[in-house]
Amino acid sequence: MIISCNGRERHLQAGTTVTGLLAELQLNPQTVVVECNKTIIDPKEYDALVLPEDAQVELIRFVGGG
């Protein structure tokens, strides 16, 4: 299955959840926000939410800025 993650194509096993994706990317779920198809995903749904084919996923976090 292919999704777009931060603007780049990514191959995932069918059935991958948000939790699964974050684990694969070694990201601490507490420091990122996940947008799927422009909707912010509630962290409570990470375990259950299976990413759909062609999902546009954005992983956003705080960075230095003024």
């Binding site: 993650c5 931060n6 603007g7 780049r8 990317l25 070694q26 990201l27 601490n28 507490q30 420091t31 990122v32 926000v33 947008e35 422009k38 912010i40 954005e58 992983l59 956003i60 976090r61 705080f62 960075v63 230095g64 800025g65 003024g66």
Partner: protein
């Protein structure tokens, strides 16, 4: 004490977290500046470097996070960033920035006002970055902005307070705190803003790119304190002609 919405701050210097050469330098410079509120931006996670994470570097017990919407070109993008900031940071405080032109990074007044109106209704504490326009300042205040943040000069230019007379009018009229943001390049600029009666200043570039950011952080911290103290002490009037500071009487013996 500075009060914004329901929160009080001892320091009237807000720090930025961009452009530092390393996290260690940033932390030391912020500590030496005395800042309690710091701005952060939102960007895509760098998937090549997943450990590069400012949340693991900055102590949230010590600093009040003020996420910005830098990069937003219109109200819609700013609102999207605001929602992301709330989701990742658990805060409804927001430095609203809408800058359609990357060359000048000047704030769009129409889109800024529009976004302020919407975000205030959604429960955000909105601190809008704005041009030094006294009428816009009143409009933002009426829309429920928690502060107004007029620019001294364009972002990152270190030019100081180019908009002095307009900022003076803004301060005179404001019912909410006035934070001079952007363009302050030297501690003397920050002190001048505070002497004029600004409630706070926000400084990023001038500290981050200094030869010694840690010493510059402290210099800005001291300047902000000195400027505020001078404002509270009430400055003497300035005039065009000389006025002797030594007595004019008792000089008859020279004649």
């Amino acid at each position: 004490m500075l009060k914004i919405a329901d929160k009080t701050f001892r320091s009237r210097l807000f720090g930025g977290t961009g452009k530092f050469s390393s996290s260690a330098v940033m932390n030391e410079a912020l500590a030496s500046s005395g800042a309690e509120m710091v701005t952060v931006a939102l960007r895509r996670v760098d998937l090549e470097d997943p450990d590069d994470d400012i949340m693991s570097v900055l102590d949230r017990e010590r600093y009040w996070f003020l996420p910005n919407t830098a990069g937003a070109r219109n109200a819609e993008e700013a609102i999207r960033l605001a929602h992301l900031a709330r989701a990742v940071g658990g805060t409804n405080w927001l430095k609203l920035e809408v800058t359609p032109d990357p060359r000048t990074l000047l704030p769009d007044p129409v889109e800024t006002l529009k976004a302020t109106e919407i975000l205030v209704k959604e429960g955000f504490i909105v601190l809008p970055y704005m041009n030094a326009d006294p009428i816009l300042s009143l409009r933002l205040q009426d829309a429920g902005a928690a502060t107004v943040m007029p620019l001294g000069a364009p972002i990152g230019t270190n030019q100081g307070i180019l908009m002095r007379s307009m900022i003076e009018i803004i301060i005179e009229q404001a019912q909410v705190p006035v934070v001079v943001d952007a363009g302050l390049g030297a501690p003397s600029h920050a002190a001048a803003a505070m002497e004029m009666g600004a409630d706070a200043v926000l400084v990023n570039t001038a500290i981050a790119v200094a030869g010694d950011p840690v010493a510059m952080g402290r210099a800005f911290g001291l300047a902000v304190e000195a400027g505020r103290m001078a404002y509270e002490a009430v400055l003497g009037a300035s005039g065009k002609h000389a006025a002797p500071s030594s007595p004019e009487v008792g000089l008859e013996f020279l004649k």
